[in-house]
Symmetry: D2
Subunit: 345 residues, 4 copies
């Protein structure tokens, strides 16, 4: 189905070439400060055409709030927001209407729904992620109001063979956005940018990884059996188009898995657990930063170079706000569950 | 909460040292052949004390079916099954009652629920997975009846530094079970067994990976936006205790992510897509085998060697039926969703 | 929350004086014929200002389909539809902003959400039911495609002291709509109309009952324990603003409850069960027409007669399509559940 | 399905003549005082053979708590409780195996599930309600801990033609239980008892009504659109076997619906709203006692008088704790939802 979350529930809709895309956010409490400008800024971080490393397609993606907000505060009623599709360019896709695009889910979709929307991917388009960004913006507003210490930040930590070191604690989204690649390591960012432009020119593409870190999660947030914090985030991230893996804890996990437990579980000097838990134990936030690495395939490339300009050679920079949105929606939902349980000993 | 799935919904209960553990499976259609012996065999594959490579704890784990089955067929009503806890040995844990065990979620659990069950881990115990195996057995019975071509098989594909090659198509659970390590590569299995026994003797532990392959999934099974097949499985696997990552597609994915898209997406000789999709495109089963690698941390070890014998030095062999159970529950649930949608063009 | 249904799930949004109201329908299969004109006709049956017996407020309530439909067929993706609020007249409500309106939920809402939308009732307004009518129209389209024999029809069966007899089988919505009161009994309809106009002139109001009959329900549709067909419909109808009771079976049920079981359960001449079951046994449709009587309070009246013209003196005629919409959504949802369960003996 | 509630979720299982029946309660917070004796007392109020006015069948219905409780407090984990079926007497039902029982759902059930459990009604048996009583007992324990002022009490307010007046505020369950008919009006209770015994002797049966009153509900509890308090309770009560109607507000509602709004809505002398709202406005508890009348059909009677002794001539006295259980589960669930929403203005 097209809903995400239980108590903070985001329902998305819209085909990439239909009249509009949008989201309905149900369960956001009343009284949370929320403006159209705040949601728009979130969308601007995702939209195509931001910089040379993204697709050249220009989509304004102007949001309209239809309900749930009055005088810049949430009403406690469902928040509906839409974005009109303006750069439809359906003629670009008309030629593809009859044939399944390589590397796309066209054939599978047709089997499932007994038709294929010839207007370009329908709901499977990466454009669908703008709905998630809307949901994430509302989640961010809620979290800022209820758990101001929470800091959900993602960044590009790998592009092709280039792997960035873990940045210091307290990294902000503004710091990440300071470079078009959204890799906060200054030296590496320049190298990555060059490599993406090179791939773009060659009609090639690049994959890699985004690392997301959530600092300040309430101790004990999550569920202990099904719906563990680990599971909820894995579900959230694996649902983003090109994601091909979700790994917890240290960046060199694949290497460390080769070591025996006595070495793997070595505690830090101060006796605290090392970061092998990725901030989660028994399904619950353990007070350490929650740390996950999300692996992305390189986009399937088109042999027709003329079209290449309209697709991202590397989706990682634009996927950063999408991964953050997914994380924020998970935390908003779990936070409301957390509040629903009176704690009596 | 403690339920898994929407239409095929498994609710589990029981603390590891309370009177009983069990599961209620709601949504299984009527008329599916199901016997107590079938469920018992599934539990036997998970139970402790199976072989020298597992914990020496002996737990009979005898299942009792309380409802939902009559004359060896499901009634369409909820199937409740329980296992009494017999090897409680709570005195072993009495000493631990006052202190949080290192490497366990005790501290976090206590913060969340304002108490800690001193009888040994409560719901966070690995023993909770027997409830999942019950759910998986019923899912298997349903799938065997409705989609007989579906083949859900998992195996130990890595222990510490030892990595097994991908086995040929059509591997069966019986073939996997033929070796106590559940590594189907005969040569490597012996090496892995020796290594686990060595770790056991040394009070050490080992992690690694289980690979799960689902052959014969109905084309188009899954959901395209939220609840993608990829997401559902990631959620399912990440919810198993020591899992620290879920990765799709080829075993050397981390290596292949370093390559540009043109090399990453190279098709097979016959023009079919290569296995980079792990059998899933756009969230839906694409007709190829679904292939995921589930990464496991080594268990946290106890410095007290006297206790070590009661814990698994390497949980991978016993986790194989748990991973299969999670996969089967996901497929059973998605299959019922699939049937709920009449396909009209 | 603001969603209704499980597999056919309708999420509604919008405050009565915000920018727009609407609904997202998730779970409608692909390939169902659906046009904007079809949804508009459904809304036209509910809109204010249809006739002398309703409020004089004129609201065009023009629907726009934002997603989920392409070339007049559903895509299998979420269907989003909105109606802009044009007749806001918020100045009418400005005077009321500071005081709780008698007979309204203003005070309770303010306690719950710690604020009250001063623009006129927000989500508690009867205007919210237009979202339900959108959901019902999509449900009707699905049902027409999958179970063409199903006939969901409601009518005004009581206004104040006037009670209409049960109409013959096969009554259509067009026959009901032929009279502005939506009472299909021609003689009584005239009397009822006169009485409503009288109440309107006097600044008074009238309650009564709507009877809904669903013919042609698939035998066995429903659930046997929780979510019985009876429960689902009771939940659906009781959720409509002024409803104060839901009663199954014959119109004189209160009288028949005074009789002993031998007289109450008398079978019909042909040995079939009498209509005391209201078409439902054990929570499942039993093949007889499903028959429910929905009781409506008279609207709370305003002492200010000048305003009275902007409110319905008797909401029953306009509530008929709302009750039908609720019934259709329930049947659409249960139908998809029904299909999700393979029937094997 | 077989679950009830969202945050406080009760899943029931068991056929009336299978090995056991039971319930799993998920979502009850930790630290709530709960004993086996407390649950047993609740079951004792429902069990057959309590008095001359009920069935002569004797079923001990001894409960066993399998999980979720430790040292008489809830753990925050799922609470599983079972009751073994001891008085199976399946031979009584063997004769009926081949034929559908008149007045039962046998035929419909067989169509739905393609089989019929010949052991006596399976899940459609009234015996299933013991699972609801278990869920209600846990809900009562939670409510007593969190909202000690809440008072959920039901009583027999009508049997056949005998209608009891509304008892004074503060009525307790003990006061209701003081008479075997559970009619708290002393004079009428004797008359009702005589009438039930008369029907029993004659192989006849009687229906009527149970009134349930919930005092002390938190102001604003409920949901404003779907899942209104009114809807939730209607769903809950309509799901009990023989229920044929749910009506809000005053007992003479059918009469008052004949009156115009100015008379219907007359306020009380002190200016407070009269009880026409049944304690609910806009879907939310309005601070007044919530008051509903639940109508029950007379049980379908058996022509075989020899069997008649094993069935209740009037199920109303034993249905009182079932209606209370349903109400308590709804309030427990809504209370947790209520807590999940931080209230900021």
């Amino acid at each position: 189905m097209n809903s995400f979350g239980e108590l903070f529930r985001v329902t998305t809709f819209g085909e990439s070439h239909g009249p509009a895309m949008g989201a309905v956010i149900d369960g956001c409490p009343a009284g949370v400060p929320l403006t159209k400008a705040f949601v728009q800024r979130a969308l601007d971080r995702r939209r195509p055409g931001q910089s040379a490393v993204t697709t050249a397609r220009q989509e304004a993606d102007q949001v309209e709030l239809l309900s749930g907000v009055y005088e810049d505060k949430t009403l406690g009623t469902p928040i509906a927001a839409i974005v009109r599709n303006t750069d439809a360019r359906s003629q670009d896709y008309a030629k593809l209407a009859k044939e399944d695009r390589p590397g796309h889910a066209d054939r599978v979709w047709r089997e499932r729904f007994h038709h294929r929307d010839p207007r370009g991917g329908g709901r499977t388009s990466g454009r669908e992620t703008l709905c998630r960004v809307i949901g994430g913006a509302v989640a961010d507003a809620l979290l800022a109001n209820e758990t101001p210490k929470l800091n959900v930040v993602a960044w590009v930590s790998q592009v092709g063979p280039f792997v960035a070191p873990l940045p210091a604690a307290g990294l902000t989204r503004a710091q990440v956005d300071a470079h078009p690649t959204r890799c906060p390591d200054v030296a590496l960012a320049a190298e990555i940018e060059a490599r993406i432009l090179e791939a773009k020119a060659a009609g090639d593409s690049l994959g890699g990884a985004i690392t997301v870190r959530i600092e300040g999660a309430p101790l004990g947030l999550g569920e202990p059996v099904f719906g563990k914090l680990k599971s909820r985030l894995a579900d959230a991230f694996a649902g983003v188009g090109a994601v091909t893996g979700v790994v917890w804890g240290p960046a060199d996990l694949e290497h460390r898995l080769r070591l025996p437990g006595t070495q793997f579980h070595a505690t830090n000097a101060d006796g605290t657990p090392s970061d092998v838990y990725g901030g989660i134990q028994g399904g619950l936030a353990n007070g350490e930063p929650v740390l996950a690495r999300v692996l992305f395939k390189p986009p399937a490339t088109l042999t027709d170079h003329a079209k290449a300009g309209r697709h991202d050679p590397c989706i990682l920079p634009r996927a950063v706000p999408v991964i953050e949105a997914m994380a924020s929606m998970v935390f908003a939902d779990l936070l409301l569950s957390f509040l629903a349980r009176p704690h009596r000993a």
